[in-house]
């Protein structure tokens, strides 16, 4: 078994399935390859790779309008690049989408020197988008909480992934 203090890709995938996700709209970051391998093998999921993160929000908006359940999987750097699309296609069209955001630079230990982390929460606060921090498997219910909140309020909700996915359990 993986250390419970770590975040396993199986846990994240289980949360997606539990919440009826049909499509993963994503752009790889340095921490998602284990999850990618699992998602790719999951027959119930369609992966849509985007060329830039701004396209993730418009694509997710189209999927939702067509009755599907997308999740957006990007890094915090790309989320900031996608600000106008998040505003217009996400918030503007009331899309209840969860975005799983790799929290590059996040640390509980000392002051981060990575400006990607320094601006992440301020950026989300500027848009009034709520977020949940997930660092290990014990935090996984927060992903479901994010889905519930997105559905209830009909708006995007972020899950900040503060750790890498640590390979497979088996």
């Amino acid at each position: 078994m993986a250390d419970e203090a770590q975040l396993s890709p199986e846990t994240v995938l289980a949360q997606m399935k539990q919440n009826g996700v049909t499509h993963v709209v994503w752009l790889p970051d340095s921490e998602t390859n284990w999850l990618y391998t699992l998602m790719k093998a999951e027959p119930g999921l369609t992966l849509i790779a985007v060329a830039r993160e701004g396209l993730a929000f418009s694509t997710a908006a189209g999927l939702h309008t067509g009755g599907k359940v997308p999740i957006i999987l990007i890094q915090n750097t790309g989320m900031m690049e996608a600000g106008d699309s998040m505003r217009g296609w996400g918030l503007g069209l009331n899309i209840p989408v969860v975005m799983l955001v790799g929290y590059r630079g996040w640390t509980r230990h000392g002051v981060t020197k990575d400006t990607a982390a320094a601006y992440t929460e301020r950026f989300l606060n500027a848009f009034g988008i709520n977020y949940y921090l997930v660092e290990n498997d014990k935090d996984a219910p927060r992903i479901s909480a994010a889905f519930e909140e997105a559905r209830r309020n009909r708006r995007p909700v972020a899950v900040l992934v503060g750790d890498e996915y640590h390979g497979f359990n088996s």
Binding site: H23, V25, T46, I48, A49, V50, A51, R52, G54, L55, A56, F57, S58, T59, A60, A61, G62, L63, H64, T65, G66, G67, K68, P70, D84, S85, R87, G88, W89, G92, L93, N94
Partner: protein, 195 residues
């Protein structure tokens, strides 16, 4: 150059039951469409996103024909979407491009390298299996029925006469006749999609 409204009149004859995302042609399409509940006039939520939205919709509704009227300013912002479409190759996706060589809604300033970009060739190089380019309505009129009857994804670049808007924002007529919320609610009800 093709007059947008005339092009829409020709398209309307071949629309069938297609879902139409009119993009920046909404004002002109609104006057012609006979199935507004199958239209998705969303105005300009954020520039560069219409093709992503249309791709998502096409993948979500594979039994419906999805027709997008994109613009070259939007496409220049998100050229990567052509590779995304080409990867999934939705057979129900028809990607028309309104190329007026300028940002018409901001006073008509030219887009980068306005007259010299071959968008159909970019689409082909990105992987669209079928591409077309038209500078006259006559040629488009001859082909459009065949284009819409064939499987997608198809890319159709059209040189369009610019309809330049230069009034201050506050003096312009509203871009949408229905709110976005109403457009989406009407669409969901029409297709029986739970909101």
């Amino acid at each position: 150059m093709i007059v947008m409204q005339e092009m829409f009149r020709v398209f309307q004859q071949h629309r069938g039951n297609a879902i139409v995302i009119p993009g920046r042609g909404n004002r002109q399409w609104h006057e012609i469409s006979t199935q507004p509940r199958r239209d998705l006039p969303l105005g300009d939520p954020a520039m560069g996103g219409h093709a992503g939205f249309a791709l998502g919709l096409a993948l979500a509704l594979p039994r419906e024909k999805i027709v997008l009227f994109d613009s070259e300013g939007d496409l220049q912002m998100s050229l990567g979407v052509l590779a995304m479409v080409s990867e999934h190759k939705p057979k129900n996706f028809y990607h028309f491009l309104l190329d007026n060589e300028c940002y018409a809604t901001t006073g008509g300033q030219p887009v980068p390298n306005a007259a010299n970009v071959a968008y159909d060739q970019i689409a082909r190089a990105a992987g669209y299996p079928s591409v077309h380019a038209y500078t006259t309505l006559e040629s488009l009129t001859i082909d459009i029925g065949r284009i819409l009857a064939a499987p997608g994804p198809v890319f159709v670049a059209m040189k369009i006469v610019p309809e330049i808007e230069n009034r201050p924002m506050g003096q312009r007529p509203p871009r949408l006749s229905r709110s976005r919320e109403q457009v989406l609610a009407d669409f969901s009800a029409e297709l029986g999609i739970a909101g």
